[in-house]
């Protein structure tokens, strides 16, 4: 295992961690812009977190320890993700050959507990959300693994660090740009799915029947909810960084430039999410699988193409 | 003297006709015991026949005789206790016929003269007719009539076949006594066309008796209508005797270089038999008929094994031994079931495990054995037949073979499971279980089991000797 406790790596990690809520604000701002509104303040998410952390909690009499375990596990897995990701071309804190498999399975673990926590409440609505969550994300996970397979084919590596900082880095500026373009689109769809964004899920809607992620955490309150929210921000950050790293190779040689460009690309990605949310409506639940399958088909297509390109 | 194996039962049988019931039973048991002793004597130190032109001590004959003798001893013990329950009016006739039947079968086993073999086989039909007939119900009469007529017709054709075989010698230049052993010596000089024709008629003739389809039609009727000890004897001993006739002729064909032809004929009949029994075992409603069809199946398997030759021939011999043991055990058990329930319908013999636990266990063990599960012997023989068939490249044959085995297993296991395990509303037991009647079938099963764990060298050598003449070996 490569452990990099360098100042840069750690600093990037903390910066990412700290800025995740801010970037969520970007989405809100973009949406507000398109709606012709002023929108909430940039720091709205920090306010929310602080408010939640100060509160106590109400627990349903139906629940068990699982309900309390859910937020902790999902937050832990999200943090684990960040530990392994090479932000802005910096070496990640940790990495090893094969870490991607482990990380996506850890994400699965987090989801497992989130879903269980939802089912723990005995609420029919939360059950509904849970069912949708596991279904859509299992499809998304399959798409992710095909992407990973493609990356292995291109770079021969199995870790984020190798993908983006190794000798055969995968990004839009390499020789297999056409394939990566397909992957970027696919990954963006996965990002929307995994983070419960429009058009898969609408985090801002008010009808529980139509929700996925939000309905699952209906009964959580106080610090528990804060952990969930923070976990969700981290997850979003992770996927956005993933897309960003594909869009641009942060290997200018100067870490400073890398970070600046990275920040810009990240903002763009978040803005992209906001843009999509502004101009599309949420799909009907039964068309969502097809939407996810689109991403899946894109990567599969890309993978088949590698049979021609890479010999 | 070799002839004593059939003379003794003939004499005893005639005597039993006129003796009172009690002493008749005693004589039955005594004769059975002496028969075993004589057989053992002949087995270990062949004394040889008085008239060598008619009778001979052959390994395959001794195999059949040995099985028959052992079975008869246990079946006669069973019969005595069984008869005590059913109170048959003509018990002396039954006991006498049993002995005469034994005599006729023993004669088949030791006959060497071609026509004498025929005489003996026909005699088995006639002697066993009263055994089936004994209940005198409509059904048993019908069964007897079909048995006697169909078998007589069939065996008459075997006589024709025998004539053809004799003629094949007369067509050639050699002249030897009309016995299988002397014919075997000159087999390569016999006229092949007539030999083939003879073989066909003999296979069809003795095959009728052996239960090869499509000549098997009497078999399910006779086996289901006969009292259980008689069914056990028919299935366990008589079919082997008929098989012996076919086998002798096959030997001759192999000697004449027509082994491939006769082997293929046997395989064809064997497969048809298996298919036919599969047809009727699925959805069977009568458990004795089910067992009867299973006998047809197993005779088919033996025919296939012999037809394939090589190690499959060895397997076929093993199959014959174990089938006799297990099937007669099953038939004896059905006697107990019939006594207990008073019906042969599978539908009305439910819940055996609760009502008649010992019977149920014996029955199921027998079924497992007949389906080829270890620790019973049919497992080995079926495995070896499959192996032998593939070794000779008979892929189609083995596909049909396996297909039939699967079908038959599917049919039979459903029925047997229903009988043994399902539940029944009433707790009525017509006749309670009794160790005296339960023990003979158990002993038969244990014998099969023992023969799997340990086979006496002399038995092995006899089998090896018997199959060597048709090119069967144990080394592939």
């Amino acid at each position: 295992m490569n452990i990099s406790f360098s100042f840069a790596s750690l600093a990037m990690l903390f910066a990412a961690f700290a800025l995740a809520p801010l970037l969520m604000g970007v989405i809100l701002k973009v949406k507000a812009f398109f709606a012709g509104k002023q929108g909430p303040p940039w720091l709205i998410k920090y306010h929310t977190l602080v408010k939640l952390l100060q509160k106590g909690s109400v627990y349903s009499t139906s629940t068990t320890f699982i309900f309390k375990l859910g937020p902790v596990v999902s937050f832990t897995t999200a943090v684990m993700l960040l530990l392994f990701f090479p932000f802005a071309g910096m070496a990640p804190v940790l990495s090893f050959h094969g870490d991607v498999i482990m990380l996506f399975y850890l994400l699965g673990l987090g989801r497992f507990f989130t879903v269980l926590a939802a089912l723990d409440t005995a609420s029919p609505f939360e059950g509904m959300g849970a069912a949708r969550e596991v279904f859509f994300s299992s499809l998304a996970e399959a798409a992710i693994f095909v992407i990973l397979a493609l990356f292995f084919r291109l770079s021969g590596s199995l870790s984020f660090a190798e993908y983006f900082t190794g000798t055969h880095a995968v990004n839009l500026w390499s020789e297999s740009a056409a394939l990566i373009l397909l992957v970027v689109i696919a990954l963006f769809i996965v990002l929307l799915t995994e983070n419960s964004r429009v058009p898969v899920d609408d985090p801002a809607t008010h009808l529980e029947l139509t929700m996925i992620h939000e309905v699952m955490i209906l009964d959580h309150s106080g610090p528990d909810l804060a952990l969930i929210e923070m976990g969700a921000f981290c997850k979003m950050l992770f996927y956005a960084s993933f897309v960003s790293c594909l869009l641009f190779p942060f290997q200018t040689g100067t870490p400073f430039f890398n970070i600046i460009i990275f920040a810009m690309v990240m903002t763009l990605v978040y803005a992209g999410v906001g843009l999509v949310e502004s101009i599309t409506a949420r799909y009907k639940m039964d068309t969502v699988p097809n939407y996810i399958l689109t991403s899946f088909a894109l990567v599969c297509f890309a993978t088949i193409l590698t049979m021609e390109f890479v010999l | 003297m070799l002839q004593s194996v059939f003379l003794l039962p003939f004499l005893a049988g005639t005597a039993v006709f006129f003796l009172p019931v009690k002493s008749g039973r005693l004589l039955l048991l005594a004769t059975a015991l002496f028969h075993v002793l004589i057989t053992a004597l002949e087995w270990f130190q062949a004394t040889g026949p008085l008239q060598t032109q008619y009778f001979a001590n052959t390994p395959e004959g001794m195999l059949v005789l040995g099985i028959m003798s052992f079975l008869f001893l246990l079946i006669s013990i069973y019969t005595v206790f069984y008869m005590a329950e059913v109170e048959m009016s003509k018990e002396p006739v039954f006991n006498a016929s049993m002995l005469l039947f034994l005599g006729a079968m023993s004669m088949v086993a030791v006959a060497d003269h071609i026509i004498m073999l025929w005489v003996a086989v026909e005699a088995t039909t006639l002697m066993s007719a009263p055994l089936i007939f004994v209940h005198r119900s409509k059904e048993s009469l019908e069964a007897t009539w079909k048995y006697v007529l169909i078998c007589s017709v069939g065996i008459a054709l075997a006589l024709l076949g025998s004539f053809f075989i004799i003629f094949s010698m007369e067509m050639s230049t050699v002249h030897v006594p009309i016995s299988f052993s002397s014919f075997n010596d000159v087999a390569d000089q016999l006229n092949t066309v007539w030999l083939k024709a003879g073989f066909i008629f003999i296979v069809i003739g003795y095959g009728t008796k052996m239960g090869l389809a499509p000549m098997h039609t009497w078999l399910p009727d006779a086996h289901s209508e006969a009292p259980s000890p008689a069914s056990a004897l028919l299935s366990g001993a008589l079919l082997n005797c008929a098989f012996l006739g076919v086998y002798r002729c096959h030997q001759l064909m192999v000697g004449a270089g027509l082994g491939d032809y006769s082997g293929n004929v046997l395989i064809a009949f064997g497969l048809v038999s298996m298919l036919v029994s599969a047809v009727f075992i699925l959805n069977q409603t009568d458990y004795k008929r089910m067992l009867a069809y299973s006998s047809i199946e197993n005779m088919g398997i033996i025919a296939v094994g012999i037809g394939i030759g090589g190690i499959a021939a060895f397997a076929a011999m093993l199959h014959m031994i174990h089938h006799s043991l297990i099937k007669s055990s099953l038939f004896l058990t059905t006697g107990n079931i019939l006594l207990g329930y008073g019906t042969k319908s599978i539908d009305r013999t439910r819940g055996m495990l609760r009502l008649f636990p010992e019977t149920a266990i014996t029955f199921f063990a027998g079924f497992a054995g007949i389906s080829g599960f270890p620790p019973f012997g049919l497992f080995i023989s079926e495995l070896l037949i499959v192996m032998g068939a593939i070794k000779t490249g008979r892929y189609v044959v083995i596909s049909i073979f396996i297909f039939c085995l699967i079908l038959i297993f599917a049919g039979a296991s459903r029925l047997v499971m229903q009988m043994v395990f399902s539940s029944r509303d009433s707790d009525e037991r017509l006749v309670p279980e009794q160790w005296s009647r339960a023990l003979p079938p158990i002993i038969l099963l244990l014998t099969s089991l023992t023969l799997v764990l340990w086979m006496p060298d002399s038995l092995f050598l006899t089998i090896q000797h018997a199959i060597s003449s048709i090119g069967g070996t144990v080394n592939g």
Binding site: G98, G127, V134, F135 | P214, F379, A410, S413
Partner: protein, 652 residues
């Protein structure tokens, strides 16, 4: 005498004494359980010893029936498979002590212990069998003893039906194995395992396919798995655990063993296995999603996990065929380790299901609920089992899946069909993982969480102590393997060393990968504890109140309103509609004052309906048509004889 044989004798003694002492019920159980556990312990010790000390294989043979030899040989592969055989059997025996509590049926219980002992012995002998005939013999013994175990509750129609289906499949499978053996025997001319590798390549494939069908029907590979979802719910739970956890792996053993013996060079073998693995894996989990009976659901998960094992083995075989060492080593190690892992967590889950069944009297998921509060130990160990079977870190299922992934990823530089299959392997592993997690969130969520859906579930209490202890032991091992995988992976690797290609493979290649996973898992746990601590801190001194669940506006929520397992899985099952046919019955609302309306859905197994529709029915129809043959008319019968003569004379 060897430890192995002593262990078997001990187990046999335990089984046999039950037949004698069954009138003293408690004594019989104590003696049976303790001797079986003792024997298994000894056997386990021996197997572990064998595999790690890498001593010369244990060989033992005796003459049998003049022409055969019954011979045993414990090499690394055998020893590896012996580990789950003995380990799980021992724990299941412990479990059975309280689970088998019906004094009324002492004879049946005694028979159960007898056949249980026989099953353990025959399974371990299959694994050690060293020639065709010994393999066939012990295989059949295993089949028949497990059949008797399945029909323990024979007075129930469903159980008899299950027993019948199992019996049928097991015998049909055995005949296919025999045919495969025939192909081998036809070319080697002997029953021994020695010369098998020398037979022609084309025959190898035929033999392998035949054996694959036979062993596959035991293992529960997709089109031949039909008996599994019947037999597992029917059997007592410790038997389901052993059958699902161990016995079906013996089918896998057969495949592995004959693969090793045939030593084929073609890629077809690996590709075939991968295709089967994909089908079993994906469809297994989809059917599992659609099932509402917990034991049946677990049975389908066995099919799924067999699929995963096959994927691993298939990757390994592809690796061998293409000379790709990493792929081969990781594929085989992953497949084999998954054998062990699955045996542990599947037994654990069956134990849990058995406990539920015992306490609530129902196995229907949608009748249960909220049991985590009433059965805390069962619930927690079931949760561990669920996490493991979903392949989530830091539990054992993840380790083996990781190895398979690792092998598969490294196979991505292959070309053509092999590349596509490798890709599909990765894809289906991911899909299986996701769906398995979905399925087990359903089970845990519906059964253990929420509110009780029936009176029985509401009144349930925790099960017996031994039942709990046996579950805890297994749960512990799930976590142990997840965090300290090295020795276990090493065992699996040593077992796969029998492949010539891997003989010189450096096991050091495994170590960094494994230590990385282990460390990450440990890190995860530490981080988890840390965050849990922080959470505790955040809550210190805060007001925590209890209240009902927020009903989203509904003020009178009832337990019947909870999401059920059926509705939970509905959309997912729907997604796979071409392969999974769902039968829905809905009474509808058609009057002004609607009466009681009902709705039920039932997922049909496509291979089962296909088999019924395209094979069983036509055959039965055809054979039914032939029944006029036995017409009862004697003239016709004589006609048959004449016909036979005519036909034969034509072909003279």
């Amino acid at each position: 005498m060897d430890t192995f044989l002593i262990a078997l004798l001990l187990i046999a003694a335990g089984g046999l004494q039950a037949l004698v002492t069954f009138r003293a019920y408690l004594l019989m159980k104590i003696l049976a359980v303790s001797t079986i556990i003792g024997g298994c312990g000894l056997g386990l010790y021996n197997a572990v010893n064998q595999i790690f000390r890498q001593v010369e294989p244990f060989v033992c043979s005796c003459e049998w029936l003049q022409i055969f030899t019954f011979s045993l040989k414990i090499d690394a592969v055998s020893a590896f498979f012996l580990i789950p055989v003995f380990a799980i059997s021992a724990v299941a025996a412990l479990y059975s002590f309280q689970y088998m509590g019906d004094k009324e049926r002492s004879a049946a219980t005694a028979a159960n212990y007898f056949f249980y002992a026989l099953l353990i012995i025959s399974m371990s002998l299959v694994v050690c069998a060293d020639n065709l005939i010994s393999f066939a013999l012990t295989w059949e013994l295993m089949s028949i003893s497990s059949f008797f175990l399945v029909i323990y509750d024979f007075h129930k129609q469903a159980v008899r039906n299950a027993g019948y289906i199992y019996f049928f499949f097991t015998q049909a499978g055995a005949l296919f194995i025999f045919a495969g053996f025939g192909c081998i025997y036809a070319h080697t001319g002997s029953f021994s395992f020695d010369a098998i590798a020398a037979i022609p390549e084309s025959v190898k494939l035929t033999a392998f396919i035949l054996i694959l069908i036979g062993c596959g029907s035991k293992a529960g590979i997709m089109p031949f798995h039909i008996w599994l979802p019947y037999a597992h719910p029917a059997a007592p739970s410790h038997i389901s655990a052993v059958m699902s956890g161990v016995m079906i792996k013996i089918g896998i053993y057969g495949i592995v063993r004959f693969y090793l013996l045939l030593a084929p060079t073609s890629v077809l073998f690996g590709q075939l296995i991968i295709v089967l693995g994909i089908v079993s894996g994906i469809l297994g989990v989809v059917y599992a999603l659609g099932k509402h009976d917990i034991k049946r659901l677990l049975a389908y998960h066995s099919v799924e996990n067999i699929g995963i094992i096959l994927l691993g083995l298939g990757i390994g075989m592809l690796g061998v065929a293409t000379g790709h060492k990493t792929m081969a080593a990781f594929g085989f190690a992953g497949g084999l380790l998954h054998v062990l892992n699955h045996s542990i967590f599947k037994s654990l889950l069956f134990f849990g299901a058995g406990g539920l069944l015992r306490q609530t009297g129902t196995a229907a998921i949608d009748q249960l609920g909220g049991l985590m509060k009433r059965m805390p130990f069962t619930g927690r160990s079931f949760l561990v089992g669920s996490l493991s079977i979903s392949g989530l870190p830091p539990f054992n299922g993840f380790i083996s899946e990781f190895l398979i992934y690792y092998g598969a990823f490294h196979g991505l530089d292959l070309q053509g069909a092999s590349f596509i299959l490798t890709n599909l392997t990765i894809l289906s592993l991911a899909l299986i993982g996701g769906l398995a997690a979905a399925c087990f969130t359903k089970v845990v969520g519906i059964v253990f969480l929420g509110e009780a859906r029936s009176e029985a579930a509401a009144q349930a209490s925790e099960t017996g102590s031994l039942i709990i202890i046996s579950q805890l032991i297994l749960a512990l091992f799930c976590l142990l393997i997840g965090i300290f995988p090295e020795p276990f992976v090493r065992a699996a690797f040593l077992a796969s060393r029998s492949i010539p290609l891997l003989a010189d493979f450096d096991s050091m290649q495994f170590l960094p990968v494994l230590s990385n996973i282990a460390r990450t898992a440990a890190l995860f746990l530490i981080l988890f504890l840390l965050i849990a601590g922080i959470r505790k801190l955040l809550y210190s001194g805060k007001e925590i109140t209890q209240s009902g669940t927020w009903g989203c506006g509904f003020t009178q929520p009832t337990v019947r309103m909870q999401y059920t397992g059926a509705s939970y899985a509905d959309s997912m099952v729907d997604f796979f509609r071409p392969f999974v046919r769902v039968q829905k019955k809905y009474s509808g609302i058609n009057t002004v004052f609607p009466g009681k309306t009902t709705y039920s859905s039932h997922v049909q197994d496509t291979s089962e309906t296909g088999l019924t529709l395209f094979l069983v029915r036509p055959i039965l129809y055809l054979l039914g048509k032939l029944r006029w043959m036995q017409h009862g008319n004697i003239q016709l019968y004589i006609g048959y004889i004449v016909l036979a003569i005519v036909v034969m004379l034509i072909f003279i």
